[in-house]
Amino acid sequence: MADMLLQIAGVLIFFAIVFGVARLVIGRTAIDRVVAIDMLTVVSIALIALYAHLSGRFVYIDVALVYGLLSFLAVLAIARFLEKGP
């Protein structure tokens, strides 16, 4: 039962990623794409944590933390860059 629920959760997360990528492709403006990337990162953190559970490796939680940190930096940097304008 519990495993099945986890599998459904995995499918839902997969579709979340698909939607995020769709927004990344459609874009419209650069900011929209960055928003999509930001959201994809948060989804990935959840996914990494889930993978840490599935493979039973505690170390991967550190990976999630580093990933969150780096994506936060990236979004700030891009926002700063776009703010300055062309």
Partner: protein
């Protein structure tokens, strides 16, 4: 125990899914930022909490990750929306009022400290 955890994970995944859908469906950049930030933050926290039920010994570290997301995600969305407003990203036609634009125009849009 495991069932509680998996239900939490599933709820979180559902919120992440809604975040993706909101990102796709919302009419303009700012509303997309809102949908993306809120739903994905809660979804992420729920997934981490659910995993905490599976592994009680991981709980504290998962809490650190959740706290980190809780702190950085709104900040990055704030930085993004600020940048979007600064470069005059178009807003949805149904937008009613833009106090920041009025204020910025009154200040000569220099915005220098």
């Amino acid at each position: 125990m495991e069932l509680t955890g998996s239900i939490l994970v599933l709820t979180g995944a559902f919120f992440l899914f809604s975040a993706g859908l909101g990102l796709l469906r919302m009419p303009d950049t700012f509303t997309r930022i809102q949908a993306g930030t809120k739903a994905s933050t809660l979804g992420n926290i729920l997934v981490l909490a659910g995993l905490g039920f599976y592994h009680p010994d991981w709980a504290l570290k998962l809490l650190v990750v959740a706290y980190f997301v809780l702190m950085t995600n709104p900040l990055s969305s704030h930085a993004l929306s600020r940048a979007a407003h600064a470069i005059r990203t178009p807003m949805a036609p149904s937008t009613m009022v833009d106090a920041l634009r009025e204020e910025g125009d009154r200040q000569g849009n220099g915005d220098v400290s």
